[in-house]
């Protein structure tokens, strides 16, 4: 019994001394630490991609708390993350998800389409190859195809196709822009996610020279320019350029492009579908740039699917929200479902 008492008491004594020592120390050595850093860090995606310009997510978290970076500095996380960070920091979020951008490849000159000018041997890296006589491709603007972009992508969104071109998974792409910075030929660009039509060429040689080296290069024929109902595409410096603000994804230019330089998911082109709410006000018919909507006043209008280019002006103009844009590839049932919404 005696031993138990001694043991218990010595233990108690020891822990009393140590615990008090710790308490005193923690009071004496107290150091202010901003707990918000940890919380911000937790809110960030944690990919450590460095796209924000700070050393990893923890660097950004520190910078945000210290006020050196805005709450929406993380492009990768997008709106959800910036909202979370904003709430931690107690400020209102300034970013919006509307103008979300993703990376797209603006060259289609793969192994099949673009000619080579020399037999390049050496480091299999686009940048390294571009330093050797401008790269092996005869078109000096063409994608070199060694996949530097795929290597640098922190989200595994880029894969190299068998044809030697990168393909970007639009769902995985966060728009961090690392591939854009990495590409020595500048054939990857950040473009608004909502835009579906892109000119996939940036060769500024004369049309003839372009045709000599690549079967899918822009030859500056200007047919797209003429066909565009919205004045959204122009040939500048021998290459077509789309004004993304004006482009309505109508794919008219895609139809006329002789070389297939302008690309879009043509099979999935949207079509207008007029639902039962239509009161026949004719606003849509008046605004349709192709005259694809017909109908009499006060009667439900009809869309001529042959003519409809999917520009969605009618959808916007319709005062009754009776028009829905539906992908051509989608099934009839879903169109019906839209009809009854």
């Amino acid at each position: 019994m005696n031993l138990i008492l001694i043991a218990a008491l010595s233990m108690a004594g020891l822990s009393l001394v140590l615990a008090s020592g710790l308490v005193i120390a923690s009071i004496k050595f107290a150091v202010e630490n901003d707990p918000r850093v940890d919380r911000v860090l937790e809110a960030l995606p944690g990919a450590n991609c460095g796209a924000c310009g700070f050393p990893g997510c923890s660097g950004l978290a520190k910078a945000i708390v210290e006020g050196k970076a805005p709450v929406n500095a993380c492009a990768v996380g997008g709106a959800t993350v910036s909202q979370k960070v904003a709430s931690i920091m107690g400020v209102s979020d300034v970013g919006s998800s509307e103008d979300k951008k993703i990376a797209r490849v603006i060259c289609q000159g793969g192994n099949k389409e673009a000619k080579l000018k020399s037999d390049y041997r050496g480091v299999k890296s686009c940048r390294a190859a571009s330093l050797v006589n401008g790269g092996p491709k005869a078109c000096s603007f063409a994608c070199i195809g060694f996949g530097d972009c795929a290597k640098v992508c922190p989200f595994d969104a880029i894969t190299m196709s068998d044809n030697g071109l990168p393909s970007i998974d639009e769902e995985k792409c966060t728009g961090c822009g690392l591939c854009v910075k990495e590409c020595p030929k500048f054939v990857i660009a950040l473009t608004p996610k909502k835009n579906e039509v892109h000119v996939r060429c940036r060769a500024t040689m004369k049309g003839k020279d372009t045709r000599d080296v690549c079967s899918v290069g822009c030859i500056a024929c200007k047919r797209c320019e003429k066909s565009c109902p919205f004045d959204a595409i122009h040939v500048v410096n021998n290459v077509a350029v789309i004004d993304y603000a004006k482009c309505r994804n109508c794919m008219k230019c895609v139809e006329v492009c002789p070389t297939g330089t302008i690309s879009a998911a043509f099979a999935e082109r949207k079509k207008a579908v007029i639902g039962d709410k239509c009161i026949g006000c004719t606003v849509c018919a008046k605004n349709c740039p192709t005259g694809a909507i017909q109908g009499e006043l006060k009667k439900k209008h009809e869309v001529n699917l042959e003519l409809c280019i999917g520009c969605s002006i009618c959808e916007e103009k319709c005062p009754k929200n009776a028009i829905t844009m539906v992908r051509a590839g989608q099934k009839q049932e879903s169109i019906k479902a839209c009809n009854t919404k």
């Binding site: 031993l3 233990m11 822990s15 140590l18 710790l22 004496k28 050595f29 150091v31």
Partner: protein, 195 residues
């Protein structure tokens, strides 16, 4: 006397290196040996704590446990209590006194509580019957041996980043194999300065 101390150092650093032949301290050995800089930091921090622990263990043993006959059953509890508090105390003190030092190795301090080298040293000191100076040297040697193991391993692991290690062996597996080879090499010191 001096010779004894020298033998203790040689023994703990080379012959009976705590990592390679006594099997202690493997968690941090695996965890923080991927970069030489962190390895040096962790080694320094551990050596520091080890030396202090050795002293503390000596005092607890000779002034509390021994006199009251508590050794057989209170040794473990009291030592771990002391180590945990010591580590925390050191951490707080370093953070306050020298933030630069804290940045250098302070972040490793919390990891040391569960580093079994510390506990191992504390338990071995009474077993070996060392006096105060010997205990201190023993703690110091154990720390240096640990640092040596950590630094060697981190150097090799940094090189491994440039190697083409088979997929299945990546991570801890190749570290174990490398540690095995290192342990094999350290066996070359057996018989040195017998203790």
């Amino acid at each position: 006397m001096l010779k004894d101390l020298f033998f203790i150092i040689v023994s703990t650093v080379l012959v009976n290196n705590f990592v390679f032949s006594r099997f202690l301290g493997h968690c941090p050995f695996l965890g923080v040996s991927n970069k030489t800089e962190t390895a040096v930091g962790m080694g320094m921090a551990t050596t520091f704590v080890l030396t202090m622990t050795a002293v503390a263990a000596y005092f607890i043993q000779s002034f509390i446990l021994e006199p009251f006959g508590l050794t057989p059953f209170l040794q473990i509890v009291s030592f771990i209590l002391v180590i945990a508090s010591l580590v925390q105390l050191v951490e707080m003190a370093v953070l306050k006194i020298s933030p630069a030092l804290y940045n250098a190795f302070g972040i490793y301090l919390p990891l040391i509580t569960t580093n079994c080298i510390v506990m191992g040293v504390a338990l071995l000191i009474p077993q070996k019957g060392y006096n105060l100076i010997e205990s201190t040297i023993f703690g110091l040697g154990a720390g240096l041996g640990f640092t040596l193991a950590l630094v060697l391993m981190s150097g090799i692991r940094e090189e491994l980043e440039f190697s083409d290690v088979p997929e299945a062996l990546k991570g801890p597996a190749i570290v174990f194999i490398t540690a095995g080879l290192l342990a094999m090499i350290f066996l070359g010191f057996t018989g040195l300065a017998p203790l």
